[in-house]
Amino acid sequence: MYKTSIRGKLIQGDKSLSKISQDILAPIDAKTPRWWYIAMTISMAMFGWGIYCKYVTISTGIGTWGVNNTVGWGWAIINFVWWIGIGHAGTAFSIFLLILRQKWRTAINRAAEAMTVVAVGCAGLFPLLHMGRPWLFFFIFPYPNTRGPLWVNFNSPLFWDFVAISAYLLISASFWYFGMVPDFATIRDTTKSKIKKAVYGFFAFGWTGSSREWLRFEALSFVLGGIAAVLVVSVHSIVSTDFAVSVEPGWHTTIFPPYFVVGAIFSGFAMVLTLVTLMRKLYNMTDFITDSHVDAVCRILIFISLIMGTAYLTEIFMAWYSGSQYEMFTFFQNRITGDYAFQFWAMFTCNALIPQLFWFKAVRSRLWIVFIISIFINIGMWYERFNIVITSLTKNYLPANWATYSPSIIEIGFFVGTLGMFSVGVLLFFRYIPMIAVSEVKSISKFNEEIEPKEHH
Protein backbone atom coordinates (compact mmCIF):
# COMPACT_ATOMS: atom_id res chain seq x y z
CA MET A 1 0.00 0.00 0.00
CA TYR A 2 1.30 3.39 -0.98
CA LYS A 3 1.40 5.68 2.07
CA THR A 4 0.74 9.27 1.09
CA SER A 5 1.73 10.52 4.53
CA ILE A 6 5.24 9.12 4.04
CA ARG A 7 5.89 9.47 0.32
CA GLY A 8 3.88 12.54 -0.61
CA LYS A 9 1.06 12.83 -3.09
CA LEU A 10 1.49 11.34 -6.56
CA ILE A 11 -0.86 13.86 -8.11
CA GLN A 12 -1.23 17.37 -6.75
CA GLY A 13 -4.41 19.38 -6.59
CA ASP A 14 -7.13 16.83 -5.61
CA LYS A 15 -8.32 16.17 -9.13
CA SER A 16 -11.39 14.20 -10.11
CA LEU A 17 -10.92 11.56 -12.78
CA SER A 18 -12.44 13.67 -15.51
CA LYS A 19 -10.28 16.61 -14.45
CA ILE A 20 -7.24 14.37 -14.95
CA SER A 21 -8.32 13.61 -18.53
CA GLN A 22 -9.09 17.28 -19.18
CA ASP A 23 -5.79 18.54 -17.80
CA ILE A 24 -3.61 16.05 -19.65
CA LEU A 25 -5.53 16.24 -22.92
CA ALA A 26 -5.84 20.05 -22.85
CA PRO A 27 -2.84 20.70 -25.17
CA ILE A 28 -4.40 18.46 -27.85
CA ASP A 29 -7.60 20.50 -27.95
CA ALA A 30 -6.01 23.88 -27.31
CA LYS A 31 -4.81 26.26 -29.99
CA THR A 32 -1.21 25.55 -30.96
CA PRO A 33 0.98 27.99 -29.02
CA ARG A 34 3.28 30.34 -30.92
CA TRP A 35 6.50 28.99 -29.39
CA TRP A 36 5.54 25.62 -30.85
CA TYR A 37 5.59 27.01 -34.40
CA ILE A 38 8.89 28.77 -33.79
CA ALA A 39 10.48 25.63 -32.32
CA MET A 40 9.06 23.55 -35.17
CA THR A 41 10.49 25.90 -37.80
CA ILE A 42 13.96 25.74 -36.26
CA SER A 43 13.77 21.96 -35.92
CA MET A 44 12.59 21.57 -39.51
CA ALA A 45 15.45 23.76 -40.71
CA MET A 46 17.93 21.56 -38.86
CA PHE A 47 16.21 18.46 -40.15
CA GLY A 48 16.35 19.88 -43.68
CA TRP A 49 20.06 20.53 -43.45
CA GLY A 50 20.46 16.95 -42.26
CA ILE A 51 18.58 15.68 -45.29
CA TYR A 52 20.83 17.70 -47.59
CA CYS A 53 23.91 16.21 -45.89
CA LYS A 54 22.46 12.73 -46.25
CA TYR A 55 21.87 13.45 -49.92
CA VAL A 56 25.50 14.48 -50.35
CA THR A 57 26.66 11.39 -48.46
CA ILE A 58 24.61 9.03 -50.58
CA SER A 59 25.21 10.68 -53.95
CA THR A 60 28.95 11.38 -53.54
CA GLY A 61 30.03 8.88 -50.89
CA ILE A 62 31.67 8.53 -47.51
CA GLY A 63 34.64 10.55 -48.85
CA THR A 64 32.66 13.66 -47.96
CA TRP A 65 33.12 12.75 -44.29
CA GLY A 66 36.24 13.39 -42.23
CA VAL A 67 36.92 9.69 -41.68
CA ASN A 68 40.06 8.07 -43.05
CA ASN A 69 41.68 4.63 -43.17
CA THR A 70 42.89 4.88 -39.58
CA VAL A 71 39.85 6.51 -38.06
CA GLY A 72 37.12 4.60 -39.88
CA TRP A 73 34.50 5.39 -37.24
CA GLY A 74 33.98 9.09 -36.79
CA TRP A 75 31.00 11.11 -35.69
CA ALA A 76 28.63 8.61 -37.28
CA ILE A 77 29.39 5.90 -34.73
CA ILE A 78 29.75 8.38 -31.85
CA ASN A 79 26.31 9.73 -32.60
CA PHE A 80 24.87 6.29 -33.17
CA VAL A 81 25.97 5.12 -29.73
CA TRP A 82 24.85 8.40 -28.18
CA TRP A 83 21.35 8.21 -29.63
CA ILE A 84 20.96 4.54 -28.76
CA GLY A 85 21.98 5.40 -25.21
CA ILE A 86 19.31 8.08 -25.02
CA GLY A 87 16.87 5.60 -26.46
CA HIS A 88 17.42 3.33 -23.49
CA ALA A 89 15.55 5.50 -21.04
CA GLY A 90 12.08 4.68 -22.29
CA THR A 91 12.44 0.99 -21.73
CA ALA A 92 14.48 1.39 -18.59
CA PHE A 93 11.92 3.75 -17.14
CA SER A 94 8.77 1.91 -18.07
CA ILE A 95 9.93 -1.63 -17.62
CA PHE A 96 12.22 -1.50 -14.60
CA LEU A 97 9.89 0.79 -12.71
CA LEU A 98 6.93 -1.35 -13.77
CA ILE A 99 8.61 -4.46 -12.45
CA LEU A 100 9.58 -2.63 -9.26
CA ARG A 101 5.95 -1.44 -8.93
CA GLN A 102 6.99 2.21 -8.73
CA LYS A 103 3.76 4.15 -9.02
CA TRP A 104 5.41 7.48 -9.79
CA ARG A 105 6.56 6.17 -13.17
CA THR A 106 3.05 6.72 -14.62
CA ALA A 107 3.57 10.46 -15.06
CA ILE A 108 6.81 10.07 -16.99
CA ASN A 109 6.82 6.75 -18.83
CA ARG A 110 4.86 7.93 -21.87
CA ALA A 111 7.32 10.75 -22.60
CA ALA A 112 10.27 8.41 -22.01
CA GLU A 113 8.89 5.84 -24.42
CA ALA A 114 8.17 8.47 -27.08
CA MET A 115 11.72 9.69 -26.72
CA THR A 116 12.99 6.13 -27.11
CA VAL A 117 11.22 5.57 -30.39
CA VAL A 118 12.45 8.81 -31.95
CA ALA A 119 15.99 8.43 -30.58
CA VAL A 120 16.37 4.87 -31.85
CA GLY A 121 15.10 6.04 -35.23
CA CYS A 122 17.80 8.75 -35.28
CA ALA A 123 20.42 6.23 -34.19
CA GLY A 124 19.58 3.74 -36.92
CA LEU A 125 20.35 6.26 -39.67
CA PHE A 126 24.04 6.44 -38.78
CA PRO A 127 25.17 2.85 -39.36
CA LEU A 128 22.83 2.72 -42.36
CA LEU A 129 24.58 5.59 -44.09
CA HIS A 130 27.98 4.55 -42.79
CA MET A 131 27.59 1.43 -44.92
CA GLY A 132 28.42 3.63 -47.90
CA ARG A 133 25.88 1.98 -50.17
CA PRO A 134 22.74 2.15 -48.08
CA TRP A 135 20.59 0.87 -50.95
CA LEU A 136 22.27 -2.51 -50.44
CA PHE A 137 21.61 -2.57 -46.69
CA PHE A 138 19.32 -5.57 -47.06
CA PHE A 139 22.45 -7.68 -47.67
CA ILE A 140 22.67 -7.83 -43.87
CA PHE A 141 19.44 -9.83 -43.63
CA PRO A 142 20.15 -13.56 -43.47
CA TYR A 143 17.96 -14.61 -46.37
CA PRO A 144 18.47 -17.32 -49.00
CA ASN A 145 20.05 -15.33 -51.82
CA THR A 146 21.51 -15.89 -55.24
CA ARG A 147 25.04 -15.07 -54.08
CA GLY A 148 25.89 -18.60 -53.03
CA PRO A 149 23.72 -18.49 -50.87
CA LEU A 150 26.18 -16.36 -48.94
CA TRP A 151 24.96 -16.01 -45.38
CA VAL A 152 25.91 -13.25 -42.99
CA ASN A 153 28.49 -13.92 -40.30
CA PHE A 154 26.48 -14.85 -37.23
CA ASN A 155 29.60 -14.43 -35.09
CA SER A 156 29.92 -10.75 -35.90
CA PRO A 157 28.76 -8.19 -33.31
CA LEU A 158 27.90 -5.91 -36.23
CA PHE A 159 25.24 -8.40 -37.27
CA TRP A 160 24.08 -8.80 -33.66
CA ASP A 161 23.82 -5.05 -33.53
CA PHE A 162 21.64 -4.94 -36.61
CA VAL A 163 19.28 -7.53 -35.13
CA ALA A 164 19.26 -5.80 -31.74
CA ILE A 165 18.58 -2.29 -33.03
CA SER A 166 15.82 -3.28 -35.42
CA ALA A 167 14.18 -5.47 -32.77
CA TYR A 168 14.49 -2.68 -30.21
CA LEU A 169 12.88 -0.14 -32.53
CA LEU A 170 9.94 -2.42 -33.35
CA ILE A 171 9.40 -3.54 -29.77
CA SER A 172 9.64 -0.12 -28.15
CA ALA A 173 7.33 1.35 -30.80
CA SER A 174 4.68 -1.32 -30.27
CA PHE A 175 4.96 -1.12 -26.48
CA TRP A 176 4.50 2.63 -26.70
CA TYR A 177 1.61 2.44 -29.13
CA PHE A 178 -0.41 -0.17 -27.28
CA GLY A 179 -0.01 1.79 -24.07
CA MET A 180 -1.69 4.72 -25.82
CA VAL A 181 -4.73 2.86 -27.15
CA PRO A 182 -6.91 3.44 -24.02
CA ASP A 183 -5.93 7.13 -24.04
CA PHE A 184 -6.86 7.51 -27.70
CA ALA A 185 -10.26 6.09 -26.77
CA THR A 186 -10.54 8.73 -24.04
CA ILE A 187 -9.85 11.46 -26.59
CA ARG A 188 -12.39 9.91 -28.94
CA ASP A 189 -15.06 9.94 -26.24
CA THR A 190 -14.35 13.37 -24.78
CA THR A 191 -13.45 15.57 -27.75
CA LYS A 192 -16.01 17.81 -29.40
CA SER A 193 -14.30 18.00 -32.77
CA LYS A 194 -15.66 15.54 -35.35
CA ILE A 195 -12.32 15.23 -37.14
CA LYS A 196 -10.51 14.39 -33.91
CA LYS A 197 -13.22 11.90 -33.02
CA ALA A 198 -12.71 10.10 -36.31
CA VAL A 199 -8.91 10.21 -36.33
CA TYR A 200 -8.34 9.24 -32.70
CA GLY A 201 -11.23 6.80 -32.98
CA PHE A 202 -9.33 5.02 -35.73
CA PHE A 203 -6.14 4.89 -33.68
CA ALA A 204 -8.07 3.69 -30.61
CA PHE A 205 -8.72 0.41 -32.46
CA GLY A 206 -12.26 0.18 -31.07
CA TRP A 207 -11.21 0.28 -27.43
CA THR A 208 -14.12 0.50 -24.97
CA GLY A 209 -12.51 -0.29 -21.62
CA SER A 210 -14.42 -3.53 -21.09
CA SER A 211 -13.10 -6.07 -18.62
CA ARG A 212 -12.16 -8.55 -21.36
CA GLU A 213 -10.01 -5.84 -22.97
CA TRP A 214 -8.36 -4.79 -19.73
CA LEU A 215 -7.69 -8.39 -18.73
CA ARG A 216 -5.77 -9.08 -21.93
CA PHE A 217 -4.20 -5.65 -21.92
CA GLU A 218 -2.71 -6.36 -18.50
CA ALA A 219 -1.45 -9.75 -19.69
CA LEU A 220 0.09 -8.10 -22.76
CA SER A 221 1.88 -5.44 -20.68
CA PHE A 222 3.16 -8.16 -18.40
CA VAL A 223 4.57 -10.22 -21.27
CA LEU A 224 6.04 -7.27 -23.20
CA GLY A 225 7.40 -5.69 -20.02
CA GLY A 226 9.00 -8.93 -18.91
CA ILE A 227 10.78 -9.70 -22.13
CA ALA A 228 11.70 -6.13 -22.99
CA ALA A 229 13.53 -5.87 -19.66
CA VAL A 230 16.06 -8.27 -21.16
CA LEU A 231 16.42 -5.92 -24.12
CA VAL A 232 17.46 -2.97 -21.95
CA VAL A 233 20.51 -4.92 -20.90
CA SER A 234 21.16 -6.81 -24.12
CA VAL A 235 20.94 -4.06 -26.75
CA HIS A 236 23.64 -1.84 -25.33
CA SER A 237 25.75 -4.83 -24.32
CA ILE A 238 25.70 -5.81 -27.97
CA VAL A 239 26.62 -2.27 -29.01
CA SER A 240 29.56 -2.49 -26.61
CA THR A 241 30.73 -5.76 -28.17
CA ASP A 242 31.13 -3.86 -31.46
CA PHE A 243 34.06 -2.29 -29.63
CA ALA A 244 35.05 -4.89 -27.05
CA VAL A 245 35.69 -7.83 -29.37
CA SER A 246 38.10 -5.83 -31.54
CA VAL A 247 41.75 -5.64 -30.55
CA GLU A 248 42.09 -1.85 -30.33
CA PRO A 249 43.76 -0.56 -27.17
CA GLY A 250 41.18 0.98 -24.83
CA TRP A 251 38.35 -1.08 -26.32
CA HIS A 252 39.38 -4.65 -25.63
CA THR A 253 38.13 -4.80 -22.04
CA THR A 254 35.56 -6.84 -20.16
CA ILE A 255 34.14 -3.77 -18.42
CA PHE A 256 32.51 -2.64 -21.64
CA PRO A 257 29.02 -4.23 -21.56
CA PRO A 258 28.01 -3.04 -18.04
CA TYR A 259 29.83 0.25 -18.62
CA PHE A 260 27.81 0.87 -21.80
CA VAL A 261 24.49 -0.22 -20.30
CA VAL A 262 24.90 2.03 -17.27
CA GLY A 263 26.09 4.88 -19.48
CA ALA A 264 23.06 4.42 -21.72
CA ILE A 265 20.63 4.52 -18.83
CA PHE A 266 22.49 7.56 -17.48
CA SER A 267 22.16 9.57 -20.68
CA GLY A 268 18.61 8.35 -21.20
CA PHE A 269 17.49 9.43 -17.75
CA ALA A 270 19.20 12.77 -18.25
CA MET A 271 17.29 13.26 -21.50
CA VAL A 272 14.05 12.27 -19.76
CA LEU A 273 14.78 14.90 -17.16
CA THR A 274 15.41 17.48 -19.91
CA LEU A 275 12.10 16.61 -21.54
CA VAL A 276 9.91 16.45 -18.45
CA THR A 277 11.22 19.74 -17.09
CA LEU A 278 10.32 21.29 -20.46
CA MET A 279 6.92 19.58 -20.45
CA ARG A 280 6.26 20.76 -16.93
CA LYS A 281 7.13 24.35 -17.73
CA LEU A 282 5.66 24.65 -21.22
CA TYR A 283 2.41 22.80 -20.59
CA ASN A 284 2.01 23.50 -16.91
CA MET A 285 1.95 19.85 -15.90
CA THR A 286 3.18 20.67 -12.40
CA ASP A 287 0.35 18.71 -10.79
CA PHE A 288 1.35 15.49 -12.50
CA ILE A 289 5.11 15.90 -12.78
CA THR A 290 5.54 16.98 -9.21
CA ASP A 291 8.66 18.13 -7.40
CA SER A 292 9.01 14.64 -5.99
CA HIS A 293 9.15 13.16 -9.51
CA VAL A 294 12.01 15.44 -10.46
CA ASP A 295 13.62 14.72 -7.12
CA ALA A 296 13.41 10.96 -7.66
CA VAL A 297 15.03 11.14 -11.09
CA CYS A 298 17.81 13.38 -9.68
CA ARG A 299 18.52 10.85 -6.93
CA ILE A 300 18.76 8.04 -9.48
CA LEU A 301 21.17 10.20 -11.48
CA ILE A 302 23.47 10.69 -8.46
CA PHE A 303 23.68 6.94 -8.08
CA ILE A 304 24.37 6.29 -11.77
CA SER A 305 26.89 9.12 -11.86
CA LEU A 306 28.82 7.42 -9.08
CA ILE A 307 28.85 4.19 -11.09
CA MET A 308 30.13 6.14 -14.13
CA GLY A 309 32.91 7.71 -12.09
CA THR A 310 33.87 4.31 -10.73
CA ALA A 311 33.91 2.88 -14.26
CA TYR A 312 36.21 5.65 -15.53
CA LEU A 313 38.62 5.14 -12.64
CA THR A 314 38.49 1.35 -13.04
CA GLU A 315 39.41 1.66 -16.72
CA ILE A 316 42.39 3.86 -15.86
CA PHE A 317 43.48 1.57 -13.05
CA MET A 318 43.22 -1.52 -15.26
CA ALA A 319 45.26 0.17 -17.99
CA TRP A 320 48.04 0.71 -15.46
CA TYR A 321 47.60 -2.66 -13.75
CA SER A 322 47.67 -4.59 -17.06
CA GLY A 323 51.21 -3.41 -17.68
CA SER A 324 50.42 -3.28 -21.40
CA GLN A 325 52.28 -0.37 -22.93
CA TYR A 326 49.54 0.18 -25.52
CA GLU A 327 46.81 0.40 -22.90
CA MET A 328 49.04 2.68 -20.80
CA PHE A 329 49.70 4.89 -23.81
CA THR A 330 46.02 5.14 -24.77
CA PHE A 331 44.84 6.06 -21.31
CA PHE A 332 47.67 8.16 -19.96
CA GLN A 333 49.06 9.83 -23.07
CA ASN A 334 46.07 9.94 -25.37
CA ARG A 335 43.14 10.45 -23.01
CA ILE A 336 44.08 12.00 -19.67
CA THR A 337 46.76 14.05 -21.41
CA GLY A 338 47.50 14.61 -25.07
CA ASP A 339 45.52 15.87 -28.06
CA TYR A 340 42.15 14.76 -26.72
CA ALA A 341 42.60 15.68 -23.04
CA PHE A 342 39.86 18.30 -23.31
CA GLN A 343 37.30 15.70 -24.42
CA PHE A 344 38.36 13.33 -21.63
CA TRP A 345 38.08 15.93 -18.90
CA ALA A 346 34.83 17.29 -20.33
CA MET A 347 33.44 13.77 -20.09
CA PHE A 348 34.73 13.26 -16.55
CA THR A 349 33.48 16.60 -15.29
CA CYS A 350 30.04 16.41 -16.89
CA ASN A 351 29.32 12.78 -15.98
CA ALA A 352 31.12 12.10 -12.75
CA LEU A 353 31.42 15.48 -11.02
CA ILE A 354 28.61 17.85 -12.00
CA PRO A 355 25.75 15.40 -11.23
CA GLN A 356 27.10 15.16 -7.67
CA LEU A 357 25.51 18.58 -7.14
CA PHE A 358 22.24 16.67 -6.91
CA TRP A 359 23.22 15.71 -3.38
CA PHE A 360 21.99 19.17 -2.38
CA LYS A 361 18.26 19.62 -1.99
CA ALA A 362 18.66 23.24 -3.01
CA VAL A 363 19.89 22.06 -6.41
CA ARG A 364 17.27 19.33 -6.85
CA SER A 365 14.41 21.68 -6.05
CA ARG A 366 15.41 24.36 -8.56
CA LEU A 367 14.04 23.30 -11.91
CA TRP A 368 16.30 25.50 -14.02
CA ILE A 369 19.45 24.11 -12.39
CA VAL A 370 18.15 20.56 -12.86
CA PHE A 371 17.52 21.39 -16.52
CA ILE A 372 21.04 22.76 -17.03
CA ILE A 373 22.67 19.79 -15.30
CA SER A 374 20.63 17.38 -17.43
CA ILE A 375 21.98 19.13 -20.54
CA PHE A 376 25.52 18.84 -19.15
CA ILE A 377 25.06 15.11 -18.69
CA ASN A 378 23.90 14.77 -22.29
CA ILE A 379 26.98 16.64 -23.47
CA GLY A 380 29.21 14.61 -21.18
CA MET A 381 27.85 11.36 -22.52
CA TRP A 382 28.51 12.53 -26.05
CA TYR A 383 32.11 13.25 -25.08
CA GLU A 384 32.36 9.79 -23.56
CA ARG A 385 31.57 8.21 -26.91
CA PHE A 386 33.95 10.62 -28.65
CA ASN A 387 36.62 9.61 -26.18
CA ILE A 388 36.10 5.90 -26.74
CA VAL A 389 35.86 6.01 -30.54
CA ILE A 390 38.43 8.62 -31.48
CA THR A 391 41.27 8.27 -28.97
CA SER A 392 41.60 4.53 -29.52
CA LEU A 393 41.49 4.78 -33.30
CA THR A 394 43.76 7.77 -33.94
CA LYS A 395 46.83 6.28 -32.25
CA ASN A 396 46.86 2.50 -32.11
CA TYR A 397 49.73 0.01 -32.27
CA LEU A 398 51.71 1.26 -35.28
CA PRO A 399 52.81 4.91 -35.18
CA ALA A 400 53.00 4.74 -38.99
CA ASN A 401 49.22 4.40 -39.01
CA TRP A 402 48.50 7.33 -36.74
CA ALA A 403 46.13 9.91 -38.08
CA THR A 404 44.10 12.78 -36.76
CA TYR A 405 40.41 13.14 -37.21
CA SER A 406 38.08 16.07 -37.41
CA PRO A 407 34.52 15.91 -38.72
CA SER A 408 33.61 17.45 -42.06
CA ILE A 409 30.73 19.89 -42.40
CA ILE A 410 28.66 17.06 -43.89
CA GLU A 411 29.11 14.88 -40.80
CA ILE A 412 28.23 17.79 -38.54
CA GLY A 413 25.16 18.50 -40.65
CA PHE A 414 24.10 14.88 -40.43
CA PHE A 415 24.25 15.07 -36.63
CA VAL A 416 22.46 18.42 -36.47
CA GLY A 417 19.85 16.87 -38.78
CA THR A 418 19.14 14.10 -36.29
CA LEU A 419 18.89 16.66 -33.48
CA GLY A 420 16.28 18.41 -35.64
CA MET A 421 14.55 15.12 -36.36
CA PHE A 422 14.43 14.36 -32.65
CA SER A 423 12.93 17.70 -31.73
CA VAL A 424 10.41 17.50 -34.59
CA GLY A 425 9.35 14.13 -33.21
CA VAL A 426 9.13 15.43 -29.67
CA LEU A 427 7.15 18.52 -30.74
CA LEU A 428 4.66 16.40 -32.68
CA PHE A 429 4.37 14.19 -29.61
CA PHE A 430 3.66 17.20 -27.38
CA ARG A 431 1.02 18.44 -29.79
CA TYR A 432 -0.90 15.35 -30.87
CA ILE A 433 -0.40 12.61 -28.30
CA PRO A 434 -1.37 12.56 -24.62
CA MET A 435 2.06 13.17 -23.13
CA ILE A 436 1.16 11.52 -19.84
CA ALA A 437 -0.50 8.11 -19.70
CA VAL A 438 -4.04 9.16 -18.74
CA SER A 439 -5.43 5.77 -17.78
CA GLU A 440 -2.37 4.89 -15.73
CA VAL A 441 -2.46 8.17 -13.84
CA LYS A 442 -6.14 7.58 -13.10
CA SER A 443 -5.38 4.16 -11.71
CA ILE A 444 -3.03 5.66 -9.13
CA SER A 445 -5.24 8.59 -8.20
CA LYS A 446 -6.92 6.55 -5.46
CA PHE A 447 -3.59 6.38 -3.62
CA ASN A 448 -3.92 10.09 -2.98
CA GLU A 449 -6.40 9.30 -0.26
CA GLU A 450 -5.17 8.20 3.11
CA ILE A 451 -7.92 5.66 3.74
CA GLU A 452 -7.70 2.08 2.60
CA PRO A 453 -9.89 1.46 -0.47
CA LYS A 454 -11.97 -1.14 1.43
CA GLU A 455 -13.11 1.43 3.98
CA HIS A 456 -14.24 3.90 1.39
CA HIS A 457 -17.84 5.10 1.69
Binding site: N153, F178, F205, S210, R212, V223
Partner: protein, 163 residues
Protein backbone atom coordinates in the same frame (compact mmCIF):
# COMPACT_ATOMS: atom_id res chain seq x y z
CA UNK B 1 -29.75 -2.73 -17.25
CA UNK B 2 -26.77 -0.42 -17.02
CA UNK B 3 -25.43 0.94 -13.73
CA UNK B 4 -23.12 3.94 -13.89
CA UNK B 5 -20.84 4.70 -10.95
CA UNK B 6 -18.58 7.62 -10.14
CA UNK B 7 -15.78 5.68 -8.49
CA UNK B 8 -14.31 2.23 -8.42
CA UNK B 9 -15.21 1.50 -4.78
CA UNK B 10 -18.96 1.86 -5.36
CA UNK B 11 -18.66 -0.21 -8.51
CA UNK B 12 -16.80 -3.00 -6.74
CA UNK B 13 -19.35 -2.96 -3.89
CA UNK B 14 -22.29 -3.25 -6.32
CA UNK B 15 -20.43 -5.83 -8.38
CA UNK B 16 -19.88 -8.07 -5.38
CA UNK B 17 -23.47 -7.72 -4.17
CA UNK B 18 -24.88 -8.56 -7.59
CA UNK B 19 -22.58 -11.56 -7.80
CA UNK B 20 -23.62 -12.68 -4.32
CA UNK B 21 -27.22 -12.72 -5.60
CA UNK B 22 -26.07 -15.22 -8.20
CA UNK B 23 -26.67 -12.89 -11.13
CA UNK B 24 -24.10 -12.94 -13.89
CA UNK B 25 -22.64 -9.55 -14.77
CA UNK B 26 -22.52 -9.21 -18.56
CA UNK B 27 -19.64 -6.74 -18.86
CA UNK B 28 -17.92 -3.97 -16.91
CA UNK B 29 -16.42 -0.87 -18.57
CA UNK B 30 -13.84 1.13 -16.62
CA UNK B 31 -11.30 3.90 -17.36
CA UNK B 32 -8.51 1.77 -15.90
CA UNK B 33 -8.10 -1.90 -14.93
CA UNK B 34 -9.61 -2.85 -11.55
CA UNK B 35 -8.31 -6.12 -10.23
CA UNK B 36 -11.37 -7.06 -8.18
CA UNK B 37 -13.46 -6.83 -11.34
CA UNK B 38 -10.99 -8.66 -13.58
CA UNK B 39 -10.87 -11.53 -11.09
CA UNK B 40 -14.57 -11.39 -10.30
CA UNK B 41 -15.62 -11.64 -13.93
CA UNK B 42 -14.15 -15.13 -13.87
CA UNK B 43 -12.50 -14.83 -17.26
CA UNK B 44 -9.02 -16.18 -17.71
CA UNK B 45 -6.50 -15.19 -20.30
CA UNK B 46 -3.91 -17.57 -21.66
CA UNK B 47 -1.87 -14.89 -23.39
CA UNK B 48 1.06 -15.50 -21.06
CA UNK B 49 1.03 -19.22 -21.83
CA UNK B 50 0.75 -18.50 -25.54
CA UNK B 51 3.73 -16.13 -25.25
CA UNK B 52 5.81 -18.89 -23.67
CA UNK B 53 5.15 -21.22 -26.57
CA UNK B 54 5.83 -18.46 -29.11
CA UNK B 55 9.15 -17.97 -27.36
CA UNK B 56 9.98 -21.65 -27.45
CA UNK B 57 9.05 -21.86 -31.11
CA UNK B 58 10.93 -18.64 -31.92
CA UNK B 59 14.11 -19.68 -30.14
CA UNK B 60 14.20 -23.07 -31.87
CA UNK B 61 13.49 -21.52 -35.27
CA UNK B 62 16.19 -18.88 -34.94
CA UNK B 63 18.78 -21.26 -33.55
CA UNK B 64 17.89 -23.89 -36.13
CA UNK B 65 18.03 -21.34 -38.92
CA UNK B 66 21.51 -20.22 -37.92
CA UNK B 67 22.70 -23.80 -37.57
CA UNK B 68 21.36 -24.59 -41.03
CA UNK B 69 23.01 -21.53 -42.61
CA UNK B 70 26.37 -21.83 -40.89
CA UNK B 71 26.83 -25.59 -40.76
CA UNK B 72 24.73 -27.24 -43.47
CA UNK B 73 24.05 -24.75 -46.24
CA UNK B 74 27.39 -22.96 -46.61
CA UNK B 75 30.02 -23.71 -43.95
CA UNK B 76 32.61 -20.94 -43.83
CA UNK B 77 35.88 -21.18 -41.97
CA UNK B 78 36.28 -18.20 -39.63
CA UNK B 79 39.82 -18.46 -38.28
CA UNK B 80 39.60 -22.21 -37.69
CA UNK B 81 36.65 -21.95 -35.34
CA UNK B 82 34.03 -24.71 -35.36
CA UNK B 83 31.18 -24.20 -37.83
CA UNK B 84 28.64 -24.55 -35.06
CA UNK B 85 29.74 -21.61 -32.87
CA UNK B 86 26.89 -22.20 -30.46
CA UNK B 87 27.74 -19.58 -27.79
CA UNK B 88 27.83 -16.72 -30.25
CA UNK B 89 24.54 -17.87 -31.81
CA UNK B 90 22.86 -17.29 -28.45
CA UNK B 91 23.02 -13.50 -28.70
CA UNK B 92 20.95 -13.33 -31.87
CA UNK B 93 18.68 -16.09 -30.58
CA UNK B 94 17.74 -14.08 -27.49
CA UNK B 95 17.08 -10.83 -29.31
CA UNK B 96 15.25 -12.35 -32.27
CA UNK B 97 13.14 -14.48 -29.92
CA UNK B 98 12.09 -11.39 -28.01
CA UNK B 99 11.07 -9.79 -31.29
CA UNK B 100 9.09 -12.86 -32.36
CA UNK B 101 7.34 -13.10 -28.98
CA UNK B 102 6.44 -9.41 -29.08
CA UNK B 103 4.93 -9.48 -32.54
CA UNK B 104 3.04 -12.76 -32.14
CA UNK B 105 1.74 -11.76 -28.69
CA UNK B 106 0.52 -8.45 -30.08
CA UNK B 107 -1.40 -10.27 -32.81
CA UNK B 108 -2.81 -12.69 -30.26
CA UNK B 109 -3.91 -9.78 -28.07
CA UNK B 110 -5.43 -8.07 -31.07
CA UNK B 111 -7.38 -11.20 -32.01
CA UNK B 112 -8.51 -12.20 -28.50
CA UNK B 113 -9.38 -8.76 -27.14
CA UNK B 114 -10.71 -7.75 -30.56
CA UNK B 115 -8.71 -4.57 -30.71
CA UNK B 116 -7.67 -3.89 -34.27
CA UNK B 117 -7.37 -0.96 -36.70
CA UNK B 118 -10.64 0.13 -38.23
CA UNK B 119 -12.87 -1.46 -35.59
CA UNK B 120 -15.85 0.70 -34.66
CA UNK B 121 -16.21 0.93 -30.89
CA UNK B 122 -19.52 -0.26 -29.40
CA UNK B 123 -19.88 2.45 -26.79
CA UNK B 124 -22.25 1.64 -23.94
CA UNK B 125 -21.58 4.83 -22.04
CA UNK B 126 -19.27 7.57 -23.40
CA UNK B 127 -17.94 8.27 -19.90
CA UNK B 128 -16.48 4.78 -19.49
CA UNK B 129 -13.13 5.86 -20.92
CA UNK B 130 -13.18 9.11 -18.94
CA UNK B 131 -14.47 9.00 -15.36
CA UNK B 132 -17.45 6.61 -15.20
CA UNK B 133 -17.49 2.99 -14.09
CA UNK B 134 -20.16 1.13 -16.00
CA UNK B 135 -21.71 -2.24 -15.20
CA UNK B 136 -23.96 -3.94 -17.73
CA UNK B 137 -26.47 -6.63 -16.70
CA UNK B 138 -28.63 -8.60 -19.10
CA UNK B 139 -32.25 -9.02 -18.16
CA UNK B 140 -32.43 -12.55 -19.52
CA UNK B 141 -29.95 -13.95 -16.97
CA UNK B 142 -30.97 -16.44 -14.30
CA UNK B 143 -31.97 -14.84 -11.01
CA UNK B 144 -32.40 -11.43 -12.60
CA UNK B 145 -35.14 -9.41 -10.95
CA UNK B 146 -35.19 -5.87 -12.23
CA UNK B 147 -36.49 -4.23 -9.06
CA UNK B 148 -34.05 -6.00 -6.76
CA UNK B 149 -31.02 -5.32 -8.94
CA UNK B 150 -31.98 -1.69 -9.31
CA UNK B 151 -32.18 -1.39 -5.53
CA UNK B 152 -28.68 -2.90 -5.16
CA UNK B 153 -27.24 -0.50 -7.70
CA UNK B 154 -28.93 2.45 -6.02
CA UNK B 155 -27.82 1.41 -2.54
CA UNK B 156 -24.24 1.06 -3.71
CA UNK B 157 -24.27 4.60 -4.97
CA UNK B 158 -24.95 4.41 -8.71
CA UNK B 159 -25.17 7.90 -10.16
CA UNK B 160 -27.25 6.77 -13.10
CA UNK B 161 -29.27 3.68 -13.97
CA UNK B 162 -30.25 3.07 -17.56
CA UNK B 163 -32.90 0.40 -18.16
Amino acid sequence: MVGVFDNEFDLVKAFEKVKAKGVKVDEVYTPYPIHEILEGMGKKTRITHAAFFYGLFGALTVLGGMYYAAVISWPLNFGGKPFNTFPSFIVVTIVATILIVTITTLFTFSARAQIFPGKAAKIVHPGATDDKFVMVLKSGEAGFEAGEIEQILKDSGASEIIK
